[in-house]
C-alpha cells in the first residue's frame, strides 16, 4: 500500500510572533487541550479545526492558517474564547487572520464572506447606519450577480409585505463623523 508523506511544515517563528503582536494574544500558551474544537459549533465544516489552527500558528505555518476555509466558516460565536483554559481569545485570532488574509488576497472559493463584510461596511459608511434592504440586495448582486438577486427576491418581497423593511435610509447629521472614522482608520491601515 503506497502512502504519501504529509508535506513538511517549515517552522516560522517570525509568523507566530507577528500574529501574537497583531492579535495581542499569547498563541504559545496553547497546550492543545482541544476544548475549542470540541465546543465549536462549526468544526464539522472546517478544514483545519480550531486547535489545529492554533497549532499551525505556533509552528508558524502561515499558509495553512491563511488559506484555510476555517477563518471564513467561523461564525464568531466566541465559545472557544470563553472556554480556553489558557485565556487565548481564539475568536480574536480568527479576526486577525481574516484581516491578514484580505490583505494578501482571498481565494475565489472563500470570497462570499469578505464580500459580505465589505458591503456591510460600505452601507455604514454611506448612511451612518446599516440600511438592511439595500445592503442585502447589493450583497446578493456582488456575490452572485442577477442570479443572486433572483434567489433572494422571494424572501425579500415577503419581508416587505410583513413590514420588516425600511425602504428609505436614515439621513443623519452624524454621517460626516462616521465617514471621518472610516477615513482615519484607512489612513492608519495604509501607514
Amino acid at each position: 500500500m503506497a502512502t504519501t508523506a504529509p508535506p513538511a511544515i517549515v517552522p516560522g517563528p517570525a509568523f507566530r510572533r507577528q500574529i501574537q503582536q497583531l492579535s495581542g494574544e499569547k498563541i504559545s500558551a496553547c497546550f492543545q487541550c482541544e476544548k475549542c474544537t470540541n465546543g465549536c459549533p462549526l468544526a464539522f465544516a472546517m478544514d483545519v479545526v480550531p486547535h489545529r489552527l492554533v497549532h499551525s500558528l505556533q509552528l508558524g505555518a502561515l499558509n495553512e492558517a491563511l488559506d484555510s476555509d476555517t477563518i471564513w466558516v467561523c461564525a464568531s460565536c466566541e465559545t472557544c474564547t470563553t472556554r480556553c483554559p489558557n485565556d487565548i481569545d481564539i475568536a480574536h485570532v480568527m479576526d486577525t487572520l481574516r484581516q491578514l488574509s484580505v490583505k494578501s488576497g482571498v481565494k475565489e472559493s472563500q470570497k462570499q464572506v469578505p464580500i459580505f463584510h465589505s458591503t456591510f461596511l460600505s452601507s455604514i459608511r454611506t448612511f451612518g447606519r446599516v440600511h438592511e434592504a439595500s445592503m442585502a440586495l447589493l450583497f446578493a448582486f456582488r456575490s452572485n450577480g442577477i442570479t443572486g438577486v433572483r434567489n433572494q427576491a422571494g424572501l425579500g418581497l415577503e419581508m416587505v409585505r410583513k413590514g420588516k423593511v425600511r425602504v428609505v435610509p436614515h439621513r443623519l447629521r452624524a454621517g460626516r463623523q462616521v465617514k471621518d472614522i472610516f477615513r482615519r482608520s484607512e489612513r492608519k491601515q495604509g501607514a
Binding site: 462549526l42 466558516v73 456591510f120 482615519r184
Partner: protein
C-alpha cells in the same frame, strides 16, 4: 427610572417588532427610554473582522454620547451589546477615542435589555403587571452567543447557563422548559454567506427544543430571531422537515401577558405563524 437607549440598525427594519414591543413594555414598567441622539451603527459583525481600530471607534462614538447623557445605556440587540461592551472595555483601559480628546469617566453601564429588565424589575414587579398568565406556553429560552460571550467582556455571571429570560418567562406564568442549547450558536452570522451551514445549526436547535418538550422559542437577539423565524419554510422545502415553531421576542410575550393592545401588530411581522399557538392556548 430613566435610561439611555441604543436601538441599533435592525430594530428599525427586520426587528421592528422587537423595538416596538420593548418600548411599550418598558413604558408599562415605568422605565423611561431616552434614545441616543444621532446614534450610528456599532460596526456589528463586520467591523471587527476587518479592522480592530475601526470596530472600536464606530462603537465608542456612541458610548461617548451616552456618557454625556449620564444614564445607563440599554441595548436590545445582542451584537450591538457585544460591540459596545468591547468598546467600553477599551475606553476604561484608556484607549484614546478618535476625534474626542477627553478621558472616559466610566460612570455609566452598558446593559442588555433582558438582563436590565430582570435586574431592574425582578420577579415581583413583573408578576404584578401580568393580566394574562402565559399558561399553556412551553418555551425554551434561547440566549444565543453575544448576550453572554465572552464573559470577560460582557461580565456575564453564568455564560453557560444564563437565567434572565428564564426568570422573566416564569414570572409571566409560562411553563419554561430546560435545555442545554441556551447559548449554542444559530449561525446567524452566516445566513447570507453560508446559508447551508446556518440552516444546519438552526435545525439542530429546533430538534433539541422539541426534544425538550417546547412549543415555542423565546429570544432576545434580532439576528437569532431572523435566522430562526425566516428560514422555516425553506427548511421544509429543502429537507421536508416541518417545524412550525413560533419564535417570540421576550418583550412580545411580556406585552401579551401585560395585555398590551399592539400584540397583534407585532406578531404580524413574523414569517413563521406566531398567532395560532396563542389562539389555541386561549391567549389571543
Amino acid at each position: 427610572m430613566k435610561v439611555s437607549y441604543y436601538p441599533g440598525c435592525s430594530l428599525d427594519g427586520t426587528a421592528r417588532e422587537y423595538g416596538n414591543s420593548f418600548r411599550e413594555v418598558a413604558s408599562s414598567l415605568t422605565i423611561e427610554l431616552e434614545e441616543l441622539p444621532d446614534w450610528t451603527c456599532c460596526g456589528a459583525s463586520s467591523a471587527h473582522v476587518t479592522d480592530d481600530g475601526l470596530a472600536f471607534s464606530l462603537a465608542a462614538r456612541n458610548l461617548m454620547i451616552a456618557d454625556r447623557l449620564g444614564k445607563d445605556l440599554v441595548v436590545p440587540c445582542a451584537a450591538c451589546y457585544r460591540r459596545l461592551k468591547q468598546a467600553e472595555k477599551g475606553l476604561i483601559e484608556r484607549r484614546p477615542v478618535e476625534g474626542s480628546p477627553g478621558k472616559y469617566p466610566n460612570k455609566i453601564h452598558v446593559k442588555h435589555s433582558a438582563d436590565f429588565i430582570w435586574e431592574a424589575c425582578g420577579e415581583k414587579a413583573i408578576r404584578g403587571k401580568v393580566k394574562r398568565p402565559l399558561e399553556g406556553l412551553k418555551p425554551v429560552c434561547y440566549y444565543g452567543c453575544l448576550t453572554v460571550r465572552p464573559p470577560k467582556v460582557t461580565g456575564a455571571q453564568n455564560p453557560e447557563d444564563p437565567q434572565a429570560l428564564d426568570g422573566i418567562m416564569k414570572s409571566l406564568g409560562a411553563n419554561v422548559k430546560n435545555w442545554s442549547y441556551k447559548t449554542d450558536c444559530c449561525g446567524g452570522n452566516l445566513i447570507l454567506t453560508r446559508p447551508e451551514l446556518a440552516k444546519k445549526l438552526v435545525r439542530q436547535l429546533f430538534d433539541m427544543a422539541l426534544e425538550a418538550g417546547a412549543n415555542c422559542v423565546v429570544v432576545s437577539c434580532p439576528m437569532c430571531h431572523s435566522n430562526l423565524d425566516t428560514r422555516q419554510k425553506e427548511i421544509l422545502r429543502e429537507n421536508g422537515d416541518r417545524y412550525d415553531l413560533p419564535i417570540y421576542y421576550f418583550t412580545e410575550l411580556m406585552g401579551l401577558a401585560f395585555d398590551e393592545r399592539s400584540i397583534g401588530k407585532w406578531l404580524s411581522g413574523h414569517l413563521t405563524d406566531a398567532r395560532t399557538l396563542l389562539r389555541q392556548q386561549g391567549l389571543l
